[in-house]
Symmetry: C3
């Protein structure tokens, strides 16, 4: 069962042009397009005349036109015209979805349009600040449940094993990190400190550290599908930990948006923004490449894990590092319970 | 459920040689072969000794010989010989099918052999007349229900959208065409006239028209799997519409035979015969290439439509252009009802 | 249903190094690895923390370490350590399997470890005698039930049809071979004699025969998954048949070990040992190539047969050549019956 009454990332704003984009979300085939007036629309990717996916058609003015017999639809799903037939039956319409463009992201509400309240969209202002936080973005398709992607982000002891060659660092440091976890209204947040530790290759390549560093990892999960990450490091003695100083070292903000495609696959929308050497485009590019490599390492693990859990879900045992994950799970379970209540099942 | 008590095209006569041809029809694996005596045979593609498909074996004389332990079968499915065993149990036999070679096609009756009445085979004499109607033939595999292929042929308003680059023409002309539909005993027929219209590229490339043309499209569907098409155009003023003149312009006869492979796939047997410039082989070839391109455009639509309808069959709405399709559906439903009656389900 | 209380070949000894080897046997994902101490271990290929296949991790000392969060396991499945957590819950363990290295093979008992009695492992001493029986080995993956591989070996009349181009010989000779079949305690054995017959290409290429030969085929099936083959030929008049002489001609010992991967696939472990020209490595190599070609011919048949039987299992008819196969089937059915008894189903 999916959590339908929620906002998810459907796409990057830059992905939606005046040509149809087909994307299955929460098991529903959807076509996204930008109307002549500029607004983004999302409707069911299925003409209700003969069933052809509308994504095989084209955008004309405010409508999307079916590529089979030319029937067109408004952004709200209403049939606009049938070639050669003056009367358009009013009940001839397809499902539409509420969509909002915000912070470079296209957000979609998968429940009823009337229930869509844009106040609930998790904000990410850094995407609007290319001067302080230059970034590149990516849409990654993964053959795993979206929940495994979130789990992965909430137990960082995996860094020493999965990301040996990139952001890893040594296992001891990771598993002995200072670690404080707090439940929030819509999820969980945690801070992890690797004090007086060796900077990993990705960090050291980006910034000239003098030697060992104090490294922080600030994460917040907002159910059902967003994780904010703010990580960085300063030379030991700069007061990163003691005085909250964040200036002058390595600083990354990563946006993670995960949206189920099906029960067995998801879209992973991420961006990497850097708070150092902001006016060097090659640094932005290098960060993007480094994150791509890192997340490719995760992809191998997540897809193998998903296949394994599909074969056998139980039993699993938690460790002390699973605290944030367990709280996140409760947040998702709460949303699922409300979902069942709303749908009366 | 399939309509089994019916004749279907199994293959082109030219496809059946002295080597086995494996083809699944209506969900049943069948092997077709030409016996030494020349007659075509069709039997179950499964040796009843150890189950190997007989199509992996070879044709020897009047029999097909299994490629595993050499057991051979007659064209009527009776086991002919078991190497090294003198006694052949009489009940050791496999299913056989009634087949008839006619009009360059191999027709197969998918019900009981005893019920096969060749009088019911839809005739197509033009295949025997290479002088007046030179043609080339093709067997196309499609991942869609055979019914969608028939539907496609019965609503020609798709030409302006699907076949823009080939036989399309403009949408207005198509949807405003004169259109008369008649139910027949075994299906439906219709005539469509595009009077005083611009000839489409395929037509104009084939014949020197003076300018605008009167264009006809004559279709007849014979359930469950045949559509006859006779289309053409004459210069305006030649009396094509008013006097029934068909001489001297562009004239095409297309045979469409569609046979289910499974519920999700079919074989589409088609030929294109031209009634102009009959002694120019390159014209026959050019027509074949043009039709191949056109039907490749249909294939994209039909396979996407099938996948979409598999996900969600209902609801669908008909337009005024669906009249012929709706009558055809009734003809198929009538056959299905009889099928249920015969099978007692 | 699988016969779980039995020894199967899991791998060749040479396949198991200090890196994990993933292999699904009887539907269970297993990881095999060699510990620092040298012993082979086999455990469930699934970390019980978050479900990742352990085969994506690495071997460290006596343990296998998960590639996700570094949790490690002993060869008996007990969790050895959790990075950053001093307490290891005693019930945190995964399934382990009894394994024995013998005769160059790694044998695995798929039932409970406590029931594993190595006395029941089918012996094959020839693998230990590279002087008299030089050989090469192979692991072949087949998309068919393991039972079809055994069936194939027990009805040699297939040689004339499947192996025309390799070890075939003529159909008449095969189906008229002298043939004696004996049920054994754990399976069946048979001897087949082609007296005064033309040596097949593989034989003739290996040994200089004067002309026609007496050819024997000695087979023994040990349920559930082993077939011993001893075949060869001597010039007519050398007393192969009459006096049991086996010296100086062509002599092959082939080990066949077949282990189910799933209900629809299996691993086929085979070796080919030659009892002639033992100190010519190119002869060993040539034999390996010849057997590879031969078994590739079988693979085509077996996979097509499996797919066909999946579509329709019944009816099948036996011939007189199926005697050994029918007895083997009874031996397997007896094991299956005991299996049901043990599992109380």
């Amino acid at each position: 069962m999916f959590i339908r009454n929620a906002w998810y990332v459907a796409a990057w704003v830059s992905e939606i042009q005046h040509v149809p984009l087909a994307r299955t979300l929460l098991g529903e085939p959807i076509v996204l397009f930008r109307r002549a007036s500029g607004a983004v629309a999302a409707v069911e990717d299925r003409c209700c005349h003969r069933g052809l996916p509308l994504s095989l058609g084209e955008v004309r003015g405010e409508t999307i036109v079916c590529g089979y017999h030319g029937i067109s639809y408004e952004g709200d799903g209403k049939c606009a015209a049938i070639p050669g037939q003056s009367h358009v039956p009013p009940r001839m319409r397809i499902r539409s979805y509420a969509v909002v463009e915000r912070d470079e992201l296209v957000w979609i509400w998968m429940g009823a349009v009337a229930d869509a309240d844009s106040v609930l969209i998790p904000p990410y202002p850094y995407h609007n600040d290319h001067t302080q936080w230059p970034h590149l973005t990516h849409t990654q398709h993964l053959r795993c449940s979206y929940r495994l992607v979130i789990d992965n982000l909430l137990d960082l002891t995996h860094l020493a094993f999965v990301h040996k060659r990139t952001i890893g660092g040594d296992s001891d440091a990771h598993s002995k990190a200072q670690f404080s976890v707090t439940a929030t209204e819509r999820g969980v947040k945690f801070v992890r400190w690797l004090l007086n530790s060796v900077p990993p290759p990705t960090y050291a390549n980006a910034v000239n550290f003098k030697g060992r560093v104090d490294r922080w990892m600030d994460f917040e999960f907002v159910a059902p599908g967003v994780v904010y990450q703010f990580t960085g490091a300063l030379d030991v003695g700069q007061g990163a930990y003691e005085h909250g100083n964040r200036q002058g070292g390595f600083a990354l903000r990563i946006f993670h948006g995960v949206t189920p495609e099906t029960a067995d696959s998801c879209f992973y929308f991420w961006s990497g923004s850097h708070g150092y050497r902001q006016n060097e485009p090659h640094v932005t590019q290098a960060l993007f490449v480094a994150l791509s490599s890192t997340f490719a390492e995760d992809a191998v693990i997540l897809e193998a894990q998903h296949a394994s859990l599909r074969r056998r879900a139980e039993p699993l045992f938690s460790t002390t590092h699973d605290r944030a994950r367990v709280i996140a799970e409760r947040a998702l379970d709460k949303l699922l319970a409300r979902e069942r209540e709303l749908s009366g099942t």
